[in-house]
């Protein structure tokens, strides 16, 4: 019932050339730097994307995500850039309206004086495509985002979720090589956001289009992406597939951003293989190094353990790969599906997650975790 605009017979001059060889990236941003009135927003950032990839730019507000997207779309001219290629073609001097990518803006930026249909058609209209074909393709795109019956509505008659879909349809219709999405779900409520995440992902897989997706939500990034780029103050903090970023953050910033609850400072005393030996006060612990550069003994490091990997016990277990710290019980926070127990240790206050609430009775005397769950990283 739903048909992709991509499959429709068309003579559009903008039709993508036969897809480039799989090894050639469809997007290359090399060494981009940008500043607004002396305020550096982006510093030596390099980003590449493969055709059909779902690449997420993750970072807190003000970290330069939108700036990066605007450099790609051409709406902002970079202060300095090594190279900027779309589909292997240098586009540094190509104005935004001639670049083969479209954007779903954070505020949607729908044209208030046009109908939904005219908004969606606009990208085709400026390419000189005949009215009949425009209409057909706009209707297909609206079907794709499940707004087929809204063609003649005015923008102000739509809800937030519907506007978001119109913005998506409008950006999809010209069939760009790359779709740029700037926190497209940010303004939607929780339930709608989760539904739209699934729909967007399905759409991207079906169309085989490259998505560059901006979000500040680590949960959204983890569920949707092929690869994540974590930004911090205009620089790339870490990049990799979701599992790498989730399990092996390179720094305490990355760890905290990815929701590692227990983070504290330590000193590296030695390295053997991938094992990192560390000392916090009088306690010696063992973990796995996950920083960028090979570590040196004596360096200051950060240690991170996820709450769900911490175990509470009344008697200390023993084993070569276990870290054990004595603890005093604190309060419990009820979270519905699970329970968070806060405990005091000599090292830092810690939080342990207990999935079986009935097992939370009693006072634990120690907290323990495996070597593999102990992330040692750059401070």
């Amino acid at each position: 019932m739903l048909s992709d605009p991509i499959d429709s017979p068309t003579s559009a001059p903008t039709r993508r050339p036969s897809s480039p060889a799989p090894t050639q990236p469809i997007l290359e941003v090399i060494d981009a730097t940008h500043a607004y009135d002396g305020v550096v927003a982006l510093e030596n950032v390099t980003v590449t994307a493969a055709p059909g990839e779902f690449l997420t730019i993750l970072g807190e507000s003000g970290s330069g995500k939108t700036t990066l997207l605007r450099l790609i779309s051409g709406l902002e001219k970079p202060y300095r850039i090594g190279a900027l290629r779309l589909g292997g073609v240098d586009v540094r001097e190509v104005p935004a309206f001639l670049r083969d990518c479209t954007t779903v803006f954070q505020n949607y930026a729908l044209f208030p004086h046009l109908t939904v249909g005219a908004n969606v058609e606009y990208g085709l209209k400026v390419r000189g495509i005949a009215a009949a074909e425009r209409r057909t393709r706009a209707r297909q795109a609206l079907e794709l985002v499940q707004l087929a019956d809204m063609y003649d509505r005015k923008i102000h008659q739509l809800s937030g979720g519907q506007r978001q879909r119109v913005a998506l349809a409008r950006a999809l219709v010209p069939q760009p090589a790359i779709l740029l999405l700037d926190e497209p779900l940010g303004a939607l409520d929780e339930k709608l956001r989760v539904d739209m995440q699934v729909e967007l992902l399905e759409l991207q897989k079906r169309l085989g289009m490259t998505f560059i997706y901006i979000t500040h939500s680590q949960e959204e990034a983890l569920t949707m992406s092929d690869r994540i780029i974590l930004m911090r103050k205009g620089k790339i903090e870490q990049e990799g597939p979701p599992t790498t970023i989730f399990d092996r953050p390179v720094s305490s910033f990355a760890a905290r951003f990815m929701g590692v609850e227990n983070c504290f400072d330590a000193e590296l005393t030695g390295v053997s293989g991938s094992d990192a030996l560390i000392r916090v006060g009088d306690h010696h612990l063992i973990g796995r190094w996950s920083g960028r550069k090979p570590p040196k003994a004596g360096a200051k490091v950060a240690v991170g353990i996820r709450a769900e990997r911490l175990r509470l016990a009344r008697a200390a277990p023993t084993g070569p790969d276990l870290n054990v710290l004595p603890c005093r019980g604190g309060g419990a926070i009820y979270k519905g599906k699970y329970l968070d127990r806060a405990v005091e240790t000599d090292v830092a206050p810690m939080k342990a997650r207990i999935w079986d609430a009935s097992a939370a009775d009693g006072e634990p005397s120690c907290v323990w975790w495996r070597k593999d769950d102990c992330i040692v990283m750059e401070p």
Partner: protein, 284 residues
Amino acid sequence: MSTMTLTQDRAERAQTKRHSRLGQSTGWITLAKVFGVVALAMIYIPLLWLAVMSFAASPLSGVPFPLTLDNYRQLGGDGRWLPPLWTSVWLSGLVALVCMLIATVVGRSITRMRRPGGVILLTLLPLFVPGLTTGAALFIFLRTILELKLGIWSIFLGQLVWALPFCMLLILVIASRFDLRLLEAAEDLGASPWRRFWDIEMPILRPGIFGAGIFGFLLSFNELPRSLFLRGLETTLPIYNWAMAASQQSQVPIIFSLTTIILAVTLPVMGAFFWVLFVKLDKS
């Protein structure tokens, strides 16, 4: 009376909607109604009186009776007022057109400035300069200092200086609310600079642009003090009316009928124009 019931209706709806403090006391509403009625009466009664008196045998007597078409007959027979009318029509049309153009170009650049405050003030300040002052100043500047021969072009200049700030005001009100991000969205979708203006910015600014045209026309069409200084040997309709009214007692009745005709034509035309602009285009 139908407008009265309409305003009343609206006032009541507004009251129930907002429960404003003022709206609670009927005293204020009554006062507002009284002022409103008085103001409307002040505007329309003299106009109506003028129309009625244009049919009077001796308009200056203050008694409309006996009614007669003599004034109109006389007007039809006298052709002297026709050339000034045509001069005024095309001159005002030109002023309106140039106002629309300049105000649009300048207005949209002002809204793109970082700190537009000073420029806006400077642009709108001429609104407060008395007409005779502007006229005299331009006269001295063009005639005495530049030693140019005055004519239609200098009337045009004076009227443009007069109408432009109003037109700027109209455009600025609309343009300052225009979201520049819409142009970026259009650019992102592949629209060239010209298409961005034509498809997105112009339609949204259109009420302001047309409004500027209407006001430019009206302000120019009724302008007298500047034209008097800058006319050279030319005559516009306001100059003609003024000259007739000032010099020749016998011509006054004709002016009554002439102004009535102009009113009878312009009011419906302007009404229709506004209706198309704000009701029809808004719905489509």
